[in-house]
C-alpha cells in the first residue's frame, strides 16, 4: 500500500512547527516516522498535512544533571542507546532500548515519537513510568509538564492536545549502586513484547530493600506500575520466597488479553518474569555494593 496524498511542510524551528500545527487542519507531526509512516502506508492514518520536525535541531540532545537527565523529543533512539553517560548512571536504559524495534528503525525512530505514539508495548514508556518521568509539551500558550502517570488517557491516546508538541522528557536518576533489570518475552526478537518487565531497586547497609520500582509493558493501555509489589518488597531481606511472592502479586487485574494471547497467559508470564527480573536486579545491586566496598 501507499500513503494517500498530503501536503508536506518542513519546520525549521519549534515556533514554526507550532504555528503550522495551529493553522493547518488535519495535520500530523512527523518525527522519526517509524510508526506514522507505516500507518500512513497502510492507510490506517490519512492526513492532509504532514509537518516534518526533522530539521528542528533544538529538539535533539541529552543533558545530564545530578538527579535527572533530559532527552529532547527528536533524539534518535539509537543515540539514546549509544549514550555512554546514560549507560553509566542508568544502565537499565541500554538494556531496555536494545529491545526497541531493530537497527533500521532505531536509527530513525525518536524518543518523543515513541512516547507520543504510545504503543502499549513501548519500552520508552516503561522506562518513563519506572523513573517517574515528566513529559514537556509545548502549545500556543507556552509549555506544560505532564507526569508519566497522568500521560496515558486511553489505548494509544496520550494527554497531548491537538495544538501541542511533545518537546522533551525528563527521566529521574536512581542513586549509584542500584540494581536494575529489563526483559521481554516475544515470539521473535524485535516483535512487540507479549509481556515486558522492568525493575529498579536499592539496598540499605543491612542488605534490605529500601526502594523498589516495578513496571509491566505490553499488558494494558499504558505502562503498568505495580505499587502493591513494590510495597511488599520494602524493608525486606531479599530471598527466593520473597521474589516468588512478588511475582505472584504481579498477576494484576488490569492485565488484558488480545487476539493472540489470553489475559491468564500474560499473568502467568508476568509472575515468572517479575520473579526473575527482581532476582537479577538484586544480584546486580549486591555486585554494585561489593564493588563499592572493594574500592574503599
Amino acid at each position: 500500500m501507499k500513503a494517500a496524498a498530503f501536503r508536506y511542510h518542513r519546520a525549521d524551528s519549534l515556533a514554526e512547527a507550532g504555528e503550522m500545527l495551529t493553522s493547518l487542519d488535519n495535520a500530523r507531526l512527523l518525527s522519526g516516522g517509524q510508526s506514522l509512516m507505516a500507518m500512513m502506508n497502510l492507510r490506517y492514518v490519512i492526513v492532509d498535512h504532514l509537518i516534518d520536525l526533522n530539521p528542528v535541531s533544538e529538539l535533539a540532545g541529552i543533558s545530564h544533571h545530578d538527579d535527572h537527565f533530559q532527552v529532547g523529543a527528536m533524539t534518535r533512539q539509537r543515540c539514546f542507546l549509544d549514550d555512554d553517560a546514560v549507560a553509566a548512571h542508568s544502565p537499565i536504559f541500554r538494556e531496555a532500548l536494545g529491545y526497541v524495534g531493530h537497527l533500521q528503525t532505531r536509527n530513525r525512530g525518536t524518543v518523543g515519537g515513541s512516547l507520543a505514539h504510545m504503543d502499549p508495548a513501548a519500552e520508552l514508556l516503561g522506562l518513563a513510568a519506572l523513573t517517574d518521568a515528566d513529559i514537556t509539551l509545548s502549545g500556543p500558550n507556552g509549555s506544560r509538564q505532564v507526569a508519566i502517570a497522568e500521560f496515558p488517557q486511553a489505548y494509544m491516546t496520550p494527554d497531548i492536545k491537538v495544538d501541542e508538541i511533545l518537546t522533551a522528557v525528563r527521566f529521574n536518576r536512581w542513586p549509584a549502586g542500584h540494581g536494575w533489570d529489563f526483559r521481554e518475552f516475544a515470539q521473535r526478537h524485535g516483535d512487540f513484547a507479549v509481556v515486558g518487565v522492568g525493575c529498579l531497586l536499592t539496598l540499605d547497609a543491612a542488605g534490605a530493600i529500601d526502594r523498589a520500582a516495578v513496571v509491566l509493558i505490553g499488558v494494558a493501555d499504558g505502562p503498568l506500575r505495580l505499587p502493591a509489589v513494590e510495597a511488599m518488597l520494602l524493608g525486606m531481606l531479599p530471598n527466593a520466597d520473597l521474589f516468588r511472592a512478588a511475582g505472584e502479586a504481579a498477576r494484576h487485574p488490569e492485565i488484558t488479553g488480545d487476539a493472540l494471547v489470553t489475559a491468564d497467559y500474560r499473568r502467568q508470564l508476568a509472575a515468572v518474569m517479575v520473579r526473575r527480573s527482581l532476582t537479577n536486579a538484586h544480584q546486580r545491586a549486591v555486585q554494585a555494593m561489593n564493588q563499592e566496598h572493594h574500592h574503599v
Binding site: 501507499k2 496524498a5 501536503r7 502506508n41 531493530h102 533500521q104 530513525r108
Partner: protein
Amino acid sequence: MAKNHVTTTINGEPVEFLCETHETMLDVLRNDLGLTGSKEGCGSGDCGACSVMVDGRLACACLMLGAEAEGRSIETIEGMAAGEELHPLQKNFVKEAALQCGICTPGVLVAAKALLERNPDPTETEVRYWLAGNLCRCTGYDKIIRAVMDTAAEMRAN
C-alpha cells in the same frame, strides 16, 4: 499538488529529483531514479528489504519520505560493487548460495556491509542481532550468517 525539489547525494553522486510529497524514498529510488535494487516487502519497516544507508546509518527507505532526503547522503545496493568487481560480501553470498528468491538479498547485503564497517570481527550472535531487521523467508538464515562471518574473516586477513 506542487512537487518537492530535492537535492541529495546517492552513491556518491550529486542527484536532484522532483517527487510527489507522499512518495517514499523507496518510491523515488525505484520509480523515479531507476534504482530497483532496493525492494519493497512490507512497507511498514518490518522486513528490511528496502534497507539503505542515510548519512551512514542503516534505515528503511519505505519509512522515509523522498522529501526527507534533502541534503542527505543515500547509499543503496547499486553502489556496493566497484564496477564489475563484486564486494567481498556479494562474492561470498554467491559462493555460499546465501540466497534463494533474492528479494531480501539487497537489504541483507547493505545491512551486512554496514555491520562489517563498524565491527570487522563480529560474533555470530552479533551478526544475528544486527541482521534482525532483515527478514528472509527462504534460507533459514544459516547460509547468510555463514557468508557474513566468512567475509569478515576474509576481510580481516587482507
